[in-house]
């Protein structure tokens, strides 16, 4: 019995003992394994740690795809200036060079420094052999929508974009040319004629109605008090009426300015959403599938 027990014990110990991992004989910190881990982090969108792991590989071996991924990690993290520097450091001999130049431009674009973006674009464009794609030309042209500069001619503007995007781009172009902003002066005049009308012109319907009622009620109370011989109260309501009336004229002009600011805000947001959706007219890199 004892023999049987010990035999089973020994056999089961051997059978169920921990199997040695195939990695146990490997070096866990070899460039291949670090890259495997870094890629895993990259695909988890843990870009900060992925970049750190990729940096460790670079300290062991030089590799342009790793350099490119580090730059992409910084770009995804929103560290645009570092991303641009990293993309620019990729050598001309690399197969990633053209893409890196394009991504560098995208990084500069995303910093919001449109002037630097255009200078860098023109600089790269002067040597067309190194420029990747018409995408950059589209992005260059698109940058005019984001500044206060006059837009180029419509045909010249739209022809730089892919056919599928032309109608959307035309909408943006028309929106930029005629942003449907309203006139603060008109709003003030409307409110001077009919209290609250300027607010309604600025799409502030309920504010307009309240302004009308406030002015009307205060005016009626002033009239009624004067009529009843309560001059002091009459003057108080007279002052209030004047305040509501003049305040509404002023407020209507201010409301239109806010309306115009909202139009500009919405326009910029639409542009940014469109650019994000189209990946800034650049090639999409998918290292995770």
């Amino acid at each position: 019995m004892k023999k049987l027990f010990f035999t089973i014990l020994i056999f089961s110990s051997i059978i169920f003992s921990q199997e040695k991992s195939h990695l146990a004989n490997d070096n866990l910190f070899s460039p291949t394994n670090i890259k495997r881990f870094a890629d895993y982090l990259f695909c988890l969108k843990d870009y900060l740690r992925a970049a750190n792991e990729y940096e460790r590989i670079l300290s062991l071996v030089q590799n342009d795809s790793i350099e490119f991924k580090i730059a992409l990690s910084y770009l995804e993290m929103g560290n645009f200036s570092e991303a641009s520097t990293r993309f620019n450091s990729i050598k001309k001999s690399s197969s990633f060079y053209k893409s890196a130049q394009a991504q560098s431009l995208k990084s500069v674009f995303q910093t919001g420094d449109i002037v630097q973006f255009r200078n860098q674009y023109l600089d790269i464009n002067s040597n067309k052999a190194y420029l990747d794609s018409a995408g950059m030309a589209s992005l260059y042209m698109f940058s005019f929508l984001l500044t206060e500069e006059p837009l180029p001619n419509e045909d010249e503007f739209i022809k730089t974009f892919p056919i599928a995007e032309k109608s959307k781009i035309k909408n943006f172009y028309d929106w930029k040319q005629d942003p449907l902003e309203k006139s603060p002066l008109k709003a003030a005049i409307f409110s001077a004629v009919i209290p609250g009308a300027g607010k309604i012109y600025a799409n502030e319907y309920s504010d307009g109605i309240y302004a009308f009622i406030a002015t009307l009620v205060a005016g009626y109370l002033a009239f009624d008090n004067f009529k009843a011989g309560h001059d002091f109260r009459g003057w108080i309501f007279c002052g209030l009426t004047a305040g509501f009336y003049a305040g509404n004229i002023y407020g209507s002009a201010a409301a239109v300015q806010i309306y115009n600011a909202r139009i500009r805000f919405d326009f910029i947001n639409e542009l940014k959403a469109f650019l994000e959706d189209k990946n800034y007219f650049l090639q999409v890199f998918n290292f995770c599938n």
């Binding site: 504010d207 509404n248 002023y250 201010a254 115009n260 909202r262 805000f265």
Partner: protein, 157 residues
């Protein structure tokens, strides 16, 4: 029992008990549930009751505002739905512009404050729930307008 064996056991027990007490948990504060509160995190606007002595007009205005806060507003409670409150808006408007423009801005604000229907989806809010509506939007300088959509909660006023 062998004397040496006994001493060895005592020493071992002594060392063990010392090591246990030395490396044992040092956090002796009993954990418990946190105190909770149903109070809304709404820091009430701090009143600045100081007097502005830089010119007579400002002194007069601040005196009226202080009196209003002390005798009416503070007693009435935190009822203005805007941040800054209408009285604070008036003072800030006058400070940024002048008494005439500031008064017009105040009357406009007061009219908008009466509007009980149009505020909810119109103004962004501050963490306390008040509608954020600073005077900088109304000084008729388009560069000073920092448009914030209503869906945003403004953390830094």
């Amino acid at each position: 029992m062998d004397n040496n064996h006994f001493i060895f056991r005592i020493t071992l027990a002594f060392i063990l008990s010392f090591s246990f007490s030395t490396f044992a948990q040092t956090d002796w504060v009993k954990w418990g549930k946190a105190d909770y509160t149903y109070q809304i995190n709404n820091p009430v606007e701090q009143r600045n009751y100081s007097f502005d002595l830089s010119n007579p007009g400002r002194f007069l205005l601040k005196s009226f505002a202080n009196a209003y806060w002390l005798f009416i507003s503070d007693v009435d409670g935190d009822n203005c739905s805007f941040s800054p409150t209408c009285s604070n808006f008036f003072i800030q408007a006058v400070e940024r512009t002048n008494i005439m423009q500031g008064s017009l801005m105040f009357f406009d604000r007061f009219t908008r404050d009466m509007n009980i229907f149009g505020k909810v989806n119109h103004y962004p809010r501050v963490p306390g729930g008040h509608f954020f509506d600073p005077p900088s939007l109304y000084i008729l300088d388009s560069d000073s307008i920092n448009y914030i959509p209503p869906s945003v909660v403004v953390k830094n006023e």
